[in-house]
Amino acid sequence: MRFMMIVIPKGYESAAPDAVPSAEAVAKMMEYNKSLQKAGVLLALDGLFPPSTGARISYSEGKATVTDGPFAEAKEAIGGYWIIQVRSREEAIEWAKRAPMSNNEIIEVRQIHEMGDFPEDVQQAAEGFESLPNSAAAKA
């Protein structure tokens, strides 16, 4: 099973565009990342720029409207994520508990859909979807 561990850092919703974590925080995080890697469970990880550099595209009656960040109404924002492969939801939660987070920060653990989880009609609708990113195959 694959899980995404989504990091929701405190105050990130209103962080300045050039906000960067401290060297100390990064060092702790690297140690944690290394432990995920050594256990063979880490598939991917990324950190995201603050929402103030992003944009929201909202849809209404077939029309897309773009709003630049920061988003005044947002109470929290995603700072980054890990994707891990583990044997159970409990194992994903145990890994999340070991992350070096500060007071009032949040990690949300969510399972990633595999094709087999979908009902048959959905699987059928997904069949033959040819435009998936094929960069790795094209590059090599």
Partner: protein
């Protein structure tokens, strides 16, 4: 209650390897180390449901295991006391052992985990013993889980693990990383165990399931652990590349009713391209380390040829033949030669393929191997020799124990019958 047990199980899966490795550094016997770690687990199963899960469950298990290990070491020395040792000396030794254990468990180092892996995959053990011990000690699987994965009774599996531990202890296998001159051979033994686990998951040798993906995931996890522990060994990266590239096809290999779907018929849009990317990166790393001509790296390069083809027809079969040639040079195997013959059939036509297969037919190693008549039947069918093709596929059906593979071959029979009329 059920929830808490599942949490304990999860903690165990994360912590057990380092726990066992740390104890084994002091006891020098992985069988005893595992028993002591298991005792700590039993204590957790008794106490956590009552007292709640401790703040730091890993440290709790470590402490519990340490206490039991010290008890165990003391018991061992009590016996020695009867042989006339002085009490003072004994006390000193006890303290020394306790200190060693404290230190060992406080900082389990990667080398301990590596030693544990090398010991579990030691050549003195039977292949089945190596597989069982690896899944148990490194992947944290229970005996019941391993038994289920390999479709053998739990009792049989339990005996297999017991015998393996006994063999290690009787052979006085040291808990250490092999020396430089031996390292290469021992790494090979570890890699073959990991790949056997992967293959049992990728194409189950028997039963109703065509794949048992949790075994593939366990093997991948081992492969990813190994590239961290042995980053300079090109074949470790080669094996990881091979497994990632093969596993990337998982969703496309199984039809909606659980039936097997072979490479030429797969919907390639269902391949996992993130996984392909990881596989390609691992292959590049193997090649960068100068291991491009290694056994696993070559197999990974062949898998990469399939990955690069957007449709089955675009497959670069000529390149695949060359890679098989290189593979045959370093590890001659009739099964590899059979695969090469398939590639020849694709590149140069069924007649050339059949010639290549027939040159192998006499090989004793292929007797009873269902893919020989299956490949032959395929080529004969393409040549329009339907009666012979029919016979070959029937032979293949009789030789495989996997229901999904049988289904696939039955389907082939029907095609032949349809073509005949």
């Amino acid at each position: 209650m059920r929830d808490i047990h599942r949490t304990i199980e999860a903690v165990w899966k994360i912590e057990s390897t380092r726990l066992i490795a740390g104890i084994a550094r002091v006891t020098r016997d992985i069988g005893i180390a595992e028993e002591l770690a298991q005792d700590a687990l039993v204590a957790a199963l008794e106490q956590w449901p009552e007292e709640g899960i401790p703040e730091n469950p890993a440290a709790w298990l470590m402490t519990a295991a340490k206490r039991r290990a010290i008890d165990y070491l003391r018991r061992g020395q009590m016996l020695e006391r009867k042989h006339g040792e002085i009490a003072r000396e004994l006390e000193f030794q006890q303290q020394r052992l306790a200190d060693a254990l404290d230190q060992s468990l406080d900082q389990v180092i990667d080398d301990d985990v590596l030693r544990l892996i090398f010991t579990a995959c030691h050549p003195v053990l039977t292949v089945e013993g190596r597989i069982a011990l690896t899944l148990r000690l490194i992947c944290g699987l229970t005996t019941a889980e391993i038994a289920r994965a390999f479709l053998v009774p739990e009792k049989t599996l339990g005996q297999r693990i017991f015998r393996a531990k006994k063999t290690l202890s009787e052979a006085h296998v040291p808990f250490e990383t092999p020396r430089e001159d031996e390292l290469h051979r021992r790494v090979e033994s570890v890699l073959s165990v990991v790949y056997l686990i992967f293959n049992e998951g990728y194409t189950a040798t028997s039963g109703e399931e065509w794949m048992r993906t949790t075994l593939c995931d366990d093997a991948l996890r081992l492969g990813r652990m190994l590239v961290q522990l042995l980053p300079g060994e090109p074949e470790v990266h080669g094996l990881l590349a091979l497994m990632e590239l093969q596993a990337s096809r998982t969703a496309a290999r199984r039809g909606r009713k659980g039936e097997a779907v072979l490479l030429p018929d797969q919907d390639r849009s269902l391949w996992d391209y993130a996984q392909i990317q990881r596989g390609m990166a691992a292959l590049e790393q193997a090649q960068r380390l100068g291991g491009g001509a290694g056994n696993y790296a070559l197999q990974a390069a062949i898998a990469a040829c399939h990955t690069r083809a957007r449709t089955a027809a675009e497959t670069d079969w000529e390149r695949i033949i060359l890679l098989y040639d290189a593979l045959l040079q370093i590890s001659p195997s009739p099964i590899v030669a059979l695969n090469r013959a398939v590639a020849v059939g694709m590149a140069q036509g069924p007649s050339a393929g059949l010639d290549a297969v027939d040159r192998l037919a006499a090989d004793a190693a292929l007797v009873g191997y269902h893919l020989l008549p299956s490949v032959r039947g395929d080529l004969l069918m393409k040549l329009g020799r339907f009666t012979e093709a029919h016979e070959e596929i029937q032979r293949a059906i009789a030789m495989t124990q996997n229901l999904r593979e049988q289904e696939l071959l039955m389907e082939r029979l029907k095609q032949i019958e349809k073509a005949t009329f």
